[in-house]
Amino acid sequence: MLFTSLEFLFLFLPITLGVYFLLKGAARNYWLLVTSLFFYAWGEPSFVVVMLGSILFNYVITLAMVWLKLKRFRKTAKWMLGLAITGNLLFLGTYKYLNFITENLRDFFPSLQGAIPQTSILLPIGISFFTFQSMSYVIDVYRRDAKVQTNLANLALYVVLFPQMIAGPIVRYVTVFKQIEHRVITFDMFSAGVLKFLYGFNKKMLLANLCAILADECFGASTLSVASAWLGAIAYTLQIYFDFCGYSEMAIGLGWMLGFPFPRNFNYPYISKTITEFWQRWHISLGRWFRDYVYFPLGGSRVTSKWRLIFNLSIVWAATGIWHGAQWTFILWGALYGVIIICEKLCDWPKKVKASLPLRLIYQPVTLLFVVLGWVLFRSPTLASAVHYLKAMFGIQATGLYDDRFFFNIDSYGLLLLVAIFCATPMLKNFTKRLAMRHMAAAKIFMILGYLLQLILFIIGISFLVMNAHNPFIYFNF
């Protein structure tokens, strides 16, 4: 089920919230668990069993690990942790990567085609997200950042909670384990959640989806002019941001409505001055997950050897690329980011750029350029199509500098793109802050108008749902 669907907004959500607020205490958790499982089953009922199996595995193994630790079998407990992580990675690897592995092995080693079967395992929705959350639980408990969860239902709730289960943000167990046991929901918090949800919904429906139409058209064209290629790339850059950011904000908003303090997942990534900064602003929960559970355990930046640093970063970025999907384009995309970040780290580039305006003026656009080009790679189904598109962007094999279709798209989408670019920056937020400092009354009126606008845009967004318009969600397949 998508948050941006009629059945979610006008069937699932009102019933879930309505009953939730009528219940008290543990009953709320059970109700949320049931509705979350229903939410997941809506997409594919058979995968519910797979997910529950994963939860049970992590539950049992964590209990065993904690018991061993209590009995001072620390080494065995560590083995248990290793087993848990391996089990989760095998689970993820099988469902997400086995088809890719067998397909490539068969391509690279044709003589072994008889020995290597062609697998066709279906990908459970959100497997990357809930597997990482499960591993987060095991690791946080091992580290004693959180207490072990003896109630299986509560652990299941943490993993399957519908706001963030399918597409994040990846909520670490330590962030919410207290709220699982006991949470206080105020109407202020609920309203803040509503506002967040509206921001996310409007971004998704009105910015992401409309940019998607333009991006799909450009990326689907057999021939492109330079201008159309760039237009498509920019449209996709905006689409993926508002799509993912929008969905994350909806998830966060829903979490707040239910009393869970989900953390922010995006912080205006397109104003980043360096690629390093970009990844501190983009998909923050993923970045922090890899930082806390992979990079820091490997030693992080506090290693004496330059080669060790390169190795640590390479592992993280290879994993980041692979996490996004079983495709060479994702792997290459992650690897390219890895290379740049390694270079930036070795040159201490982020500090230098921050300290020097001229450097910032040059490197900030370069950063954005690299991000846009990276999205072209990310979007393309194959390396060949990525190369073809990139060539068109730079005038190679393009049908001229511009074409008629470019002008049509500018007419149709120009205003939208301008608004989207504006919304991708914190200009409005900064303006509101400055206004609040200088003229409180005006700021309040501005804010109220803003809330009204969000409601109006929400209704417009619903009109798009009713029209059964273009409503893809990119990160659904991760």
Partner: protein
């Protein structure tokens, strides 16, 4: 105040969600009443999967205030400057045009050409002239009205088609130079928010069609008053309706259309029989041809279409006009573009038969034409439907004529019914053989009691209580124009009877009819 306004936002959101949820309770109710019971025999997983799909589809189709949301959506698209909304593009003159299949050349054009020329050839062998009428698409000839960056292929496709027909010596009439030579003509002759031409566009087409037919059938069309627009009264309804394209975008994006109809100032008495729907109308043009309900009362924007004023799309329609100046029989193979044209033609031709291949399933087109044997066959399609229609001609299916055998000769059949519809029909006792083709001829029909303007026949199976076909005839026209002639196939299974009705089946009451000189012949194979 900040917190209060946020709380108000929270409350408003909840109220909004709750309102729309409760407004759509019928969707959920209908799902449990109609959809869910269908899946109870399936496994739990399958039942769940099917239910999810059914519920999702219901929400999309049945959502409350759908029309309002469409308007909001169109308005938003207009505000942000989009040129295109839901597959409809705004032309430079403000009219709407549907995109989609027009954006690429018609891949089926070669087959369409083959089917049309093949049909023309077969009709030539039967001695029936054929005329292909190329209707204009809603576009100027060079496509200059399109926004920059969009190309329509309907005109180039039509050019190719007409060139091929000319090469094959198939008669064709291209209406584009007359109906849509310029953007202004397009505005005058087509609806703004609908893909059809309007009353004036159809009238222009009729003028050209009749003149061309006159050349082919050698009659004089130069002084026909029916072809002078001055002899028609224009009735206009302002801002009356939202056409097919407008319903996709909402009126805030497309605007509304005026609706005009043309009513003849001269006297008319025309009958219209629609056998598949058992409808029979007879009277002045405005009473028999025009569906007045769509112009007498404001129509619902998204639920009704004013274009139906010109008539519904039906498998078969039979217009009869005893007082028509041209005593010819024209058969039109058409889609909805022909609806207004048929009406105009019925004021000129004595017999106008119309077949719509989207609905006609009884026989192939060729068989129908062979049975009807009109004086001319005219084919009139909107360019976007012609390739689909061309797949239904059935040119290869005509069996060779071997002659026929009379199984019943010159019989009189009387049918007496009362006001309670007792004995409303009588069955012909002659047995019919399964799989055979028969011709029923009736020389004359006399009304003994009551009044009726039409009469029905039927091919009926008493065991299964099913009617295979039920033609409907204009009584007066039949008596003045050589009687009624009905050719039909008996289905392969069942015991079938021919029924003679005392009037129009289930419509007229208390009549008594006498069918004179009824002859039944069986085709030999």
């Amino acid at each position: 105040m900040h917190k209060i306004s946020k709380k108000i936002l929270g409350v408003t959101f909840c109220l909004l969600i709750a309102t729309v949820t409760f407004a759509n309770y019928k969707t959920l109710r209908d799902f449990f009443r109609h959809d869910y019971p269908k899946y109870t025999n399936l496994s739990a997983s399958e039942r769940f999967t099917h239910s999810v799909k059914a519920l999702r589809d219901r929400y999309v189709q049945q959502v409350k205030w759908k029309d309002t949301f469409i308007e909001i959506n169109g308005g938003f698209n207009r505000v942000i400057g989009k040129q295109e909304c839901n597959q409809v593009v705004r032309l430079n003159n403000g009219m709407m045009a549907r995109i989609g299949s027009n954006l690429t050349p018609d891949q089926n054009l070669p087959n369409t050409i083959k089917q049309i020329t093949g049909l023309s050839e077969r009709l030539k062998q039967m001695g029936i002239p054929f005329l292909y009428v190329n209707c204009p698409n809603k576009m100027d000839p060079d496509g200059t009205l399109l926004p920059r960056g969009i190309t329509f292929y309907s005109n180039p496709d039509s050019d190719l088609l007409l060139a091929a027909l000319k090469e094959n010596q198939t008669a064709a009439l291209d209406l584009r130079p007359v109906v849509t030579p310029t953007g202004e003509d397009l505005k005058r002759h087509f609806f703004r928010t609908d893909h059809h031409w309007n009353a004036f566009g159809a009238f222009k087409a009729t003028q050209m069609l009749v003149r061309k037919t006159a050349d082919i059938l050698a009659f004089d069309a130069t002084h026909l008053p029916q072809l002078e627009l001055a002899n028609w009264e224009v009735i206009t309804r302002k801002n009356w309706w939202l056409g097919s394209e407008g319903q996709r975008t909402g009126s805030l994006f497309s605007g509304l259309d005026d609706f005009d109809i043309l009513i003849p100032k001269f006297d008319t008495c025309i009958s219209l029989a629609v056998p598949t729907h058992n409808e029979f109308y007879k009277g002045a043009f405005k009473d028999s041809v025009i569906q007045q309900r769509y112009i007498n009362k404001r129509i619902r924007k998204y639920k009704e279409t004013a274009y139906l004023t010109f008539g519904f799309d039906r498998a078969l329609k039979h217009y009869r006009n005893e007082f028509a100046p041209v005593k010819k029989h024209i058969l039109i193979v058409q889609d909805s573009f022909g609806d207004p044209v048929d009406g105009y033609l019925s004021t000129i031709f004595a017999k106008v038969d119309v077949v719509d291949l989207r609905h006609y399933k009884e026989t192939t087109l060729l068989t129908l034409l062979e049975r009807a044997h009109p004086d001319i066959v005219v084919m009139l399609f909107n360019p976007s439907t012609r390739s689909d229609m061309a797949t239904k001609f059935g040119c290869l299916e005509l069996t060779a004529w071997q002659g026929e055998e009379t199984v019943l000769a010159n019989t009189t059949i009387e049918v007496f019914s009362d006001n309670n519809d007792n004995n409303q029909f009588k069955a012909l006792p002659t047995p019919l053989k399964n799989g055979q083709t028969y011709t029923l001829e009736i020389e004359n029909v006399e009304v003994l009691d009551g009044t009726t303007q039409g009469f029905s026949l039927a091919l009926y199976c008493p065991e299964t209580k099913t009617t295979a076909i039920s033609p409907l005839f204009d009584l007066t026209f039949t008596n003045h124009h050589g009687g009624a002639h009905w050719e039909f196939n008996v289905p392969e299974q069942g015991d079938w009877k021919i029924l003679f009705y005392a009037g129009v089946a289930n419509k007229t009451h208390g009549n008594s009819l006498r069918y004179r000189n009824v002859t039944l012949k069986q085709r030999l194979r």
